[in-house]
């Protein structure tokens, strides 16, 4: 019976729905599916920059990547970077959103002030942080130099420090976005629940963990996913402006390494193999996250 009902949605035009979604499907196929399949194919070949010669190399691009310490270092940097953005970034955003949700004077001002960072483009954010941390002229090395003595030109020549600075910058850039969503989530939690918990004698800490946090889980799940995508793909501009992947490849996260291999070193085969690996990693992570989190998430009203 259900089938009959659906067919009658467009009486006399059985093909109309397909015709209507065709443009969207066509765009997806032309701009996403075909290039993706092409890069899967390319990952099994070695090609000269100008395409004068193409050689089938089987899995060589992959085996070399997994054997190369640069690739492993890059993968590790990506993991550390995205873990920082996701864990520290989301925790901090939630804390700030919670504070913003209190009834205080000037609430609107604080909300806008904390959200506007999202309006910046990655390039602008990168430029701000690069200027702040510029080894010879930036305000941060200057203050650190004054506080701890000595002139620290090597601030950005230290790999771990550079990765930390880039991670903080990326987190800061995403703060506004996260806060908006957490704030919306918090405002959707019915006050009766919180009040009921208080009446039952739960302290603010207990109320937060037992009531607020579980009820926020759909928002948290969504933000985890978005932040993962952000940390993997959208920080390119930030890295490009702040460190160029350096020093010594310390901030050469996968998406930046991929760009360099493809567009700087003109090595399409290696870059395609890298993009396939990133695709698999992201897909697996997304599936696990969605599967696990949707089960745990509480969508009840």
């Amino acid at each position: 019976m259900a089938n009959v009902v659906e067919e009658e949605r467009f009486p006399g035009h059985p093909l109309l729905p397909y015709a209507l979604i065709l443009p969207s499907v066509a765009v997806i196929v032309v701009f996403l599916v075909v290039p993706f399949l092409q890069s899967v194919e390319q990952s099994f070949f070695a090609t000269t920059a100008f395409g004068t010669k193409t050689l089938f190399v089987g899995l060589r691009n992959y085996t070399r990547l997994f054997a190369a310490e640069d690739f492993r270092a890059s993968a590790l940097a990506t993991l550390l970077f995205s873990a920082f953005v996701m864990v520290i970034g989301l925790s901090f955003s939630l804390a700030v959103a919670h504070l913003l949700n209190q009834k205080i004077r000037g609430q609107g001002f604080y909300q806008v002030a904390l959200i506007w960072t999202y309006a910046l483009s990655p390039a602008v954010a990168g430029a701000i942080w690069a200027l702040m941390f510029a080894p010879a002229t930036g305000i941060v090395p200057f203050v650190v130099g004054k506080l701890f003595g000595g002139y620290l030109l090597n601030w950005m020549a230290n790999g771990s420090l550079a990765l930390l600075v880039v991670s903080v910058a990326a987190t800061w850039k995403m703060l506004g976005y996260n806060i908006v969503f957490f704030l919306a989530g918090l405002q959707n939690i019915p006050e009766e629940f919180v009040d009921a918990a208080r009446v039952d004698g739960a302290g603010p800490w207990r109320t937060f963990w037992d009531i607020t946090f579980p009820m926020l889980s759909p928002t948290t799940t969504f933000l985890l996913f978005v932040n993962m995508i952000y940390a993997f793909f959208q920080v390119f501009g930030l890295i490009d402006i702040m460190t160029h992947g350096g020093p010594g490849d310390a901030t050469n996260i996968l998406i930046y390494k991929l760009y360099r291999d493809a567009f700087l070193y003109l090595d399409a085969g290696t870059a395609s193999a890298e993009s396939c690996i990133v695709f698999v990693v992201i897909s697996v992570a997304a599936i696990i996250q969605l599967h696990y989190a949707t089960r745990k998430a509480i969508y009840a009203r």
Partner: protein, 439 residues
């Protein structure tokens, strides 16, 4: 409904009519395109040259387009070439030279006069520059913007440390002694930094006539092995690492990131491209001195290497287009054009007549610093491949490997030898891959 449709059609036609005159105007003119990577001040100078060229050549419409920085321009050129929409002329950076030579996409410039039925005097170009872009004595790309590296120093800080501001160090030994003095007197906390660290390593090899890669620096055949981890390379990196331990050398990052430390007086010496001279003189509040790259004593004399970019002509153009491109390349060799190019950008003029004109008008007596680079490059030897500079297919990557080796060594992460060996192992793999694909 009908009215609206007609309106729409009318609009489309009007738009089409507005666009049409352009192509009508262009008819009767030979249109050629040039993709370049000159932005900012240099881009403005390029635009001026193009404007004047078009005004002087009514039959030609040269369209110059900024297509991003060097790597971006290279990528775009390759993509366009594969889609058969390449520009007639493209600017490619020096590290892309072997890629362009192996591409099969270009006409060597030395063949063009013959193809358009003309003769051309190649001896009018400055020799170390033409040698860099020549293969078997023939010029493959047209020299355009060339620079080299030199030592910049802060005369005020030298005076403050009790050193003679007009006597910069000429050897690494003197540099170390001066550096110690600068540190002891408290004039600075660190003394020396590099721009383009990998390039400075290559410069050290060339100025001491040492081969950087096999097969005559990749000039008698494709390079298959790098030589920078030999005795000479180890000696160089040992010296730099020792200077870093003494606090004299401080790593300042890639490309131009160390410039600000020098300009703000936090370090007293900087090895950087000559193309930074204008910016450094403008950005510094002290007297800037320049001198030749410091030498290691007891090693033979070579020459400093050319950096920058050159112009490549795409293969498969019509005779008219080729003739128009050639007219432009000839135009660039004009004395006045080359003089203005040098004054406007700080790059070398590519023709001898321009160097003479600059000398004659006393340009260098106004600012001796502009002379340093010339004297250095013109006084070096020009008969060996080692002094001319290395040529490698995957040069972009290998230069990054050199930089990483320097970073790891001066920061104490690896010994100089281990850092160089690691870089050489990776570089040899890249060279083998390139040779396999381009034999």
């Amino acid at each position: 409904m009908k009215v609206r449709q007609w309106l729409l059609i009318g609009l489309v036609w009007t738009l089409g009519a507005c666009l049409a005159p352009q192509s009508v105007l262009a008819a009767g003119k030979v249109e050629i395109t040039w993709w370049h990577a000159m932005s900012g001040n240099n881009g403005k100078v390029v635009d001026g040259i193009v404007k004047d060229f078009n005004a002087a050549h009514p039959g030609i419409e040269l369209k110059a387009l900024y297509t991003g920085n060097y790597p971006e321009t290279m990528t775009k050129y390759i993509t366009a070439y594969r889609a058969k929409t390449a520009p007639n002329l493209v600017q490619a950076y020096e590290v892309g030279t072997q890629q362009m030579l192996s591409s099969g996409a270009i006409v060597p410039v030395y063949q063009i006069p013959g193809m358009v039925g003309e003769k051309w005097d190649w001896a009018q170009y400055v020799i170390p520059i033409t040698h860099y872009y020549s293969t078997a004595g023939n010029l493959w790309s047209m020299p355009f913007n060339s620079s080299t590296a030199m030592l910049y120093y802060n005369k005020d800080l030298f005076a403050k440390a009790g050193l003679d501001p007009n006597k910069p160090p000429t050897t690494w030994e003197e540099l170390e002694a001066d550096g110690k003095k600068l540190l002891q007197t408290g004039a600075v906390k660190h003394v020396l930094s590099f721009g383009w660290p990998g390039w400075v390593l290559e410069q050290s090899f060339a100025t001491h006539n040492q081969l950087f890669a096999n097969h005559e620096n990749g000039r008698s055949g494709l390079a298959t092995k790098v030589l920078f981890n030999g005795a000479f390379g180890n000696m160089v990196l040992n010296t730099w690492t020792r200077l870093a331990k003494e606090g004299i050398f401080i790593y300042g990052g890639p490309e131009y990131s160390a410039n600000s430390a020098f300009e703000s007086g936090q370090i007293a010496m900087l090895i950087q491209s000559t193309s930074s001279l204008k910016g450094i003189e403008k950005g510094s509040q002290f007297k800037v001195g320049t001198t030749f790259l410091p030498r290691f004593e007891g090693y033979p004399r070579g020459n400093s290497v050319i950096g920058g970019a050159s112009l490549w002509v795409t293969k498969g153009q019509s005779k008219e287009q080729l003739r128009a491109v050639w007219a432009f390349l000839k135009y660039l060799a004009g004395t006045n054009i080359a003089v203005d190019w040098h004054k406007g950008t700080g790059y070398f003029p590519a023709v001898n007549s321009a160097v003479q004109a600059l000398l004659a008008e006393g340009w260098f007596t106004q600012d001796q610093n502009y002379l340093t680079a010339f004297l250095q490059v013109l006084s070096g030897r020009r008969d060996t491949a080692a002094a001319t500079g290395v040529r490698m297919g995957p040069f972009v990557q290998i230069r990054e490997l050199e930089r990483t080796a320097i970073e790891k060594s001066v920061s104490g992460q690896l010994s100089p030898k281990a850092a160089l060996d690691e870089a050489a192992r990776k570089a040899d793999q890249l060279l083998a891959d390139f040779a396999q694909m381009n034999h």
